[in-house]
């Protein structure tokens, strides 16, 4: 256990006057709360963007989708299927063709 120094040794080595360094949160530490910045990511305006906003932004922001490299229709279909099967996205398979077309329409060329 050369690499894992017990705290007592560490304190000695560092000549630290602080008994409980470093900052281990204690039960009586103040609650910590943060607020995330307002979301700015969006699909481009237009019917394709609107369809994707409706179906693809419940669980993650649009930038995850718009930042994908150019993908084939087959790869986009695999992504849509994965959203439904792995993450239980409520996507009606009857709509897949429309979603894939919209994904192809908004992706960078």
């Amino acid at each position: 256990m050369r690499r894992l120094l017990p705290a007592a040794l560490m304190a000695l080595a560092a000549c630290s006057a602080e008994p409980d360094a470093p900052a281990a949160p204690a039960n009586d530490a103040a609650p910590v709360a943060i607020a995330l910045p307002a979301e700015t990511a969006a699909f481009p305006a237009g019917p394709a963007g609107e369809l994707l906003t409706q179906h693809c932004t419940a669980c993650h922001s649009a930038d995850l989708v718009t930042r994908q490299p150019p993908l084939t229709a087959e790869k986009w279909q695999a992504t849509v299927t994965k959203m439904r099967e792995a993450y239980h996205a409520p996507l009606d398979p009857a709509q897949d063709r429309q979603l894939v077309a919209a994904l192809l329409a908004v992706q960078p060329r």
């Binding site: 894992l4 470093p22 490299p69």
Partner: protein, 397 residues
């Protein structure tokens, strides 16, 4: 070893150049679609490259990474999977539950954890998909540049000590870990597991501080797992559940996601399908070349300094070598102090004067187990474990 200021003087760049650089708004990560905004409005964070807003994926700019062996907490990369992440934690109410195949299920307060023997360890935390944006051909997933990585001095307690407090029952094979983030309705919890012997190796740690300060919420306050030498997918943030299993974990995040080809170096022919896979695990060696400041003018026939960081993965850094001829010949760089086998190690070198012209410099790290970086990149459909020898363009005039 020349310090940063010497290095900058050597390459003929004054302080004005540095200030101009810090003000840059946009970053180009160097692959198609790799333009990103640098934002400084994330809580407990300085300027970060925003890859995804929800759930946050925030990347560390490479010039920040190169500044110090230890990555500043407020610039440390952020990676969550599900958008329901903990936005507030009350330390008084927080409990770490330990259950499953144990003699005494536990609900430990932070004070109870603090009473265990304390350990400290430097370790690199790197996303499995770090550098995915550079994959050729491209693969879907988070399109990271090289900055989903950081090194910290972690302080905490041993996972083994916590497991021993609960008393691991006979027949245990794995330990499953989960945190305060929650899945969308019906989706699997983000849970990862380690083999029982790995979990009890005395190095896997429950950390409550990084670089001497409490964790930020985005990096896993109040406690997170540290799995030295392994990719971050196992480093569960805001850890609140430990479950000892008597059968291998068949959950989605072990059995379906974060899997690599069971081939040497996780490498397959682009487009390959239907190959056997295994869960991703130990990291591989990498060197990083600290970018020369934009517009740096290297003077012809004058020696100049290059430097960077290296990591050995699951083993220490044995050496870093540099090449100016596309890997035909290599020359050893100087290594900075060893701060622990799992951490970053500084390297530096002085390059002899070059006639006016354009050049390319490669770096590669070899670890103490003899694994080294190849010139050619691997490929796999998940975009995992990328580690070819990096290079930078050099122009002298």
């Amino acid at each position: 070893m020349p310090d940063r200021r010497d290095a900058l003087r050597l390459i003929g760049l004054g302080a004005a150049g540095i200030a101009g650089r810090a003000a840059a708004q946009d970053i180009d990560l160097g692959f198609a679609g790799g333009r990103r905004a640098l934002a400084d409005n994330w809580p407990q964070k300085g300027a970060m490259i925003v890859l995804r807003e929800r759930a946050p994926l925030l990347e560390t700019p490479m010039d920040v990474l190169g500044e110090d062996v230890f990555t500043p907490n407020d610039r440390f990369f952020v990676r969550w999977h599900y958008d329901d992440i903990p936005l507030s934690v009350d330390p008084a109410a927080f409990r770490l539950r330990v259950g499953g195949a144990v003699r005494r299920p536990l609900a430990l307060s932070l004070d109870a954890l603090r009473r265990l023997p304390r350990v400290e360890l430097a370790a690199v935390n790197q996303c499995s998909g770090n550098s995915r944006g550079f994959f050729t051909p491209r693969v879907p997933g988070a399109q990271w540049g090289d900055g989903a990585i950081g090194n910290a001095m972690w302080t905490g307690v041993r996972l083994r000590d916590v497991l021993d407090m609960a008393g691991v029952a006979p027949g245990a094979v794995a330990v499953r870990l989960a945190g305060l983030d929650r899945p969308p309705p019906g989706a699997p919890w983000f849970e990862k597991s380690l083999a029982i012997d790995h979990a009890r190796d005395g190095e896997v740690m429950i950390a409550f501080a990084m670089n001497g300060a409490a964790l930020s919420l985005l990096n896993g306050f109040p406690i997170r797992l540290v799995v030295p030498g392994w990719y971050s997918t196992y480093w569960i943030k805001s850890l609140d559940r430990i479950e000892v299993l008597t059968a291998p974990d068949t959950g989605y995040w072990m059995a379906k996601a974060y899997r690599i080809p069971a081939t040497p170096g996780a490498n397959v022919v682009p487009g390959a399908k239907d190959f056997p896979t295994v869960p991703i695990g130990a990291m591989v060696p990498r060197a990083f070349i600290t970018p020369l400041p934009d517009g740096a003018k290297l003077v012809a026939d004058q020696p100049f300094a290059v430097r960077g960081l290296a990591m050995g993965g699951a083993h220490g850094v044995a050496r870093v070598d540099l090449s100016m001829d596309a890997g035909r010949t290599w020359h050893a760089a100087r290594l900075g102090p060893d701060q622990g086998r799992y951490g970053f190690r500084r390297w530096s070198a002085t390059i002899a004067g070059l006639r006016a012209g354009g050049y390319r410099l490669w770096a590669r790290c070899t670890n103490t187990a003899g694994e080294t970086q190849a010139m050619d990149a691997i490929w796999n459909p998940g975009g995992y474990m990328r580690n070819p020898a990096p290079s930078i363009a050099i122009r002298t005039a």
